[in-house]
């Protein structure tokens, strides 16, 4: 329901900058995920919104109104953690009712709310059970029902599926997104699992070292990562260095270090001959060909390994000038033997291009 805005928000702990100059708008009814390596600032962002910590600089607006001066319990926010935080000596009904009793609601209102929200999370038949008698997913459902019953309009979810088994996790992801959308809530979800972020979110924010790197829809992040780190962090990609040698109407031509050339046809407006660049391509977007059927965006090399990993194979290829790339293919595609010469084709529209980072490529790809 509410729209949340972070305006130039920074959080420092002494000399350590946990979140730097964050500017994001989370739309009314949006399901947004924050993804990034440990220590990137995603949980700090949640904690600032919840009021558990205060920003050092900047403002957080709730439907246009600053909320820095509001205490956590004045913010209509529900916080759901990985560890459930359910009282073991109360049954599920009592757990959901507890904050309403503390709030001083009448018995009628408490009963109405608890029943309504236990039903929404699918626990109406388990209300009498104690935490020790139900599965982990039901404990987390109880946690969600409790924050909803308290009247939360914004849900903050910090790795909420972390303690659940894989199969249950997916089912619960669908359930949770359904609840958020049905009730028109705004949700901000922190996770380190990119497939979870992809499945559940309207938009995903990628953070690194306290900064927002890219905030986009899941498909946009996969197909149009605007920074090298986003291309590296979401999915898997190869990166090669080169220099722009030609610019045509709809393509630019890049000479790779070592001599091969590759053309790029998307997001090329800001590149000109002489620019030092990094080219990228997703490991699943390249084709491995036995013969050089054309010269259309092909680089050649020798197979170092072709590893079968069950649901995919990873083919490592050493290019003629020393660099290695890895290609992912489905298991039933042709196998290649060690030392075999292969041609890797990446169509110009599937190439990614970036200006060479000022601190070097290795630093730009660094996850820690």
């Amino acid at each position: 329901m509410p729209k949340i805005e972070f305006l130039n928000v920074t959080k420092r702990y002494g000399n350590i900058v946990a979140v730097k100059n964050l500017n994001i708008t989370i739309n009314d009814g949006e399901y947004l995920s924050l993804l990034g390596p440990s220590g990137c600032g995603k949980t700090t962002t949640l904690r600032m919104l919840s009021g558990l910590i205060l920003p050092t600089e900047g403002k957080i607006l709730w439907d246009g109104q600053p909320i820095q001066d509001l205490q956590p319990d004045e913010r209509d926010i529900g916080y759901v953690f990985q560890q459930f935080a359910i009282f073991p000596h109360m049954n599920l009904w009592e757990n959901v009712a507890y904050p309403l009793e503390v709030k001083g609601l009448s018995q009628d209102e408490i009963e109405k709310n608890v029943e309504k929200y236990l039903k929404i999370v699918g626990l109406e038949n388990k209300a009498h059970l104690f935490p020790k008698d139900v599965a982990a997913a039901d404990l987390q459902r109880t946690g969600v029902a409790r924050v909803l019953a308290r009247g939360a309009k914004v849900l903050l979810l910090d790795e909420p599926f972390g303690a659940l088994d894989f199969k249950i996790r997916e089912q619960f992801q669908d359930e949770l997104r359904g609840i958020v959308k049905e009730l028109g809530l705004t949700a901000i979800h922190v996770t380190h699992d990119q497939s979870e972020g992809m499945a559940i979110s309207d938009r995903i924010g990628i953070m690194k070292k306290g900064k927002m790197i890219q905030l986009s829809t899941p498909t946009d992040l996969l197909f149009n990562p605007r920074q090298i780190f986003a291309a590296h962090f979401i999915g898997e990609a190869n990166f090669l260095e080169g220099i722009v040698v030609d610019k045509l109407d709809d393509q630019i031509v890049v000479e790779l270090i070592g001599g091969d050339t590759l053309s790029v046809s998307r997001n090329i407006a800001s590149f000109f001959p002489g620019d030092r660049v990094v080219l990228g391509f997703r490991k699943g977007f390249a084709k491995v060909l036995n013969e050089r059927i054309s010269d259309n965006n092909i680089i050649s090399g020798k197979v170092i390994s072709d590893r079968y990993l069950g649901e995919k194979r990873r083919i490592n290829v050493k290019l003629e000038y020393g660099r290695s790339v890895e290609i992912m293919v489905l298991p039933h595609e042709q196998r290649h033997s060690e030392g075999e010469t292969v041609n890797i084709q990446i169509l110009p529209e599937n190439m990614l291009i970036y200006h060479y980072p000022k601190d070097g490529l290795e630093k730009a790809l660094e996850v820690t």
Binding site: P37, S38, D165, H192, G235, G284, L309, G310, K312, V367
Partner: protein, 352 residues
């Protein structure tokens, strides 16, 4: 450097575990992955080898010596856990030397060894860093280095990379395996991830409910699963109740061809089809020979990062397909309600 033999090992139900009559040989220098649901056996096997879980019956041999009654500290084992288990306030070097100091070994000699191993795990220059200030990946490297300095001949790795980010995890897997192989250590690695097991292991042991379901090379367990559990546990799969009729699988109104040389009986009643074994086609001309193919309609699409999962309805039967994200699918969510042809090789039909 040590061969490990488990002979008819069972644990007591009273211990909360239920390993049942396990027979396994782990050759010297082998890297073994153990896979299975939580509580089904993988962690228990590690604990039995480490001496942390008592054996109710059977024998545990290290190089033909029965070590069943040896205390954990006399087994020459290093354990690497998800939670690192370092002394957080000690430096890298002091963490490595803690064991030797307690055992009153010659520390001057051990310092030299420790520095060599610190270099081997790529922590040069960080000997004096306080361990809690290191990244997760670095702390895990310290854990491995500590086990090696302590003279471990066997490394037991219990979900060692679970707490690490995906990118770091991928680097660490390769790095630690290279160190283990370089030193000729015998390693047993428990994990929940099939890809991790397939990538690292010489052989994979799959446990279910305390029973060793299959113990074989990665290719064999994946391509020739001996049980329904193994087939469906290793990869996300479609699993159905079926009947066999006229040398074809009958699934609802659908008839599916299968390899009758591989499955000569007629008494099968379950079919497992891995999600990634199914391909989607817009044109029937592209379907290879010896494949099953059916017309269907896409009902659900789920992005999984580098993969995509598509649910297809074929005559009321739901097929779930897992495919590499394709550059042609820039707008995958708009595939819903599209008519599609679904195909899979005859050889991918697993019957039980």
């Amino acid at each position: 450097m040590t061969k490990i033999t488990l002979k008819n090992i069972s644990t007591s139900h009273k211990s909360g575990s239920k390993l049942d009559n396990i027979d396994m040989v782990i050759e010297t220098g082998e890297y073994i992955a153990v896979l299975g649901p939580t509580g089904a056996g993988p962690s228990e096997i590690l604990k039995v080898i480490a001496g942390l879980l008592p054996v109710a019956s059977g024998q545990l041999l290290f190089d033909e010596i029965d070590v069943s009654d040896f205390p954990p500290e006399d087994r020459g084992i290093g354990m690497i856990f998800e939670q690192f288990q370092l002394f957080p306030h000690l430096s890298v070097l002091d963490n490595l030397l803690y064991g030797p100091r307690m055992r009153r070994e010659d520390i001057d000699k051990k310092i030299e060894v420790a520095k060599e191993i610190i270099s081997m795990v790529r922590l040069d220059g960080r000997e004096d860093a306080i361990s809690r200030e290191l990244s997760g990946g670095m702390q895990q490297r310290v854990g491995v280095a500590r086990a090696i300095v302590a003279g471990a001949k066997i490394l037991l790795l219990d979900q060692p990379y679970r707490a690490l980010d995906a990118k770091i995890r991928a680097e660490m897997r390769v790095e630690i395996k290279n160190i283990v192989k370089g030193l000729g250590l015998t390693a047993i690695h428990s994990t929940h991830e099939t890809e991790e097991a397939m990538m690292l292991a010489d052989r994979i042991a799959i446990f279910n409910n305390g029973v060793l379901e299959q113990y074989d090379t990665p290719e064999k367990v994946f391509d020739e699963p001996r049980t329904e559990f193994v087939a469906s546990f290793l990869a996300e799969s479609n699993v159905w109740d079926i009947t066999i009729d006229n040398n074809q699988v009958k699934l609802g109104e659908i008839n599916i061809k299968y390899n009758s040389n591989k499955y000569p009986d007629k008494s099968y009643n379950r079919m497992v089809l891995k999600q990634h074994a199914i391909d989607l086609f817009f044109n029937a001309d592209n379907i290879p020979n010896n494949w099953n193919s059916f017309n269907g309609k896409i009902t659900k699409v789920r992005l999984l990062g580098e993969f995509i999962r598509v649910t297809v309805d074929v005559n009321g039967i739901e097929f779930i397909v897992r495919d590499l994200l394709n550059p042609d699918l820039r707008d995958p969510l708009h595939l819903i309600d599209e008519e599609i042809i679904l195909g899979f090789p005859v050889n991918e039909v697993n019957l039980f």
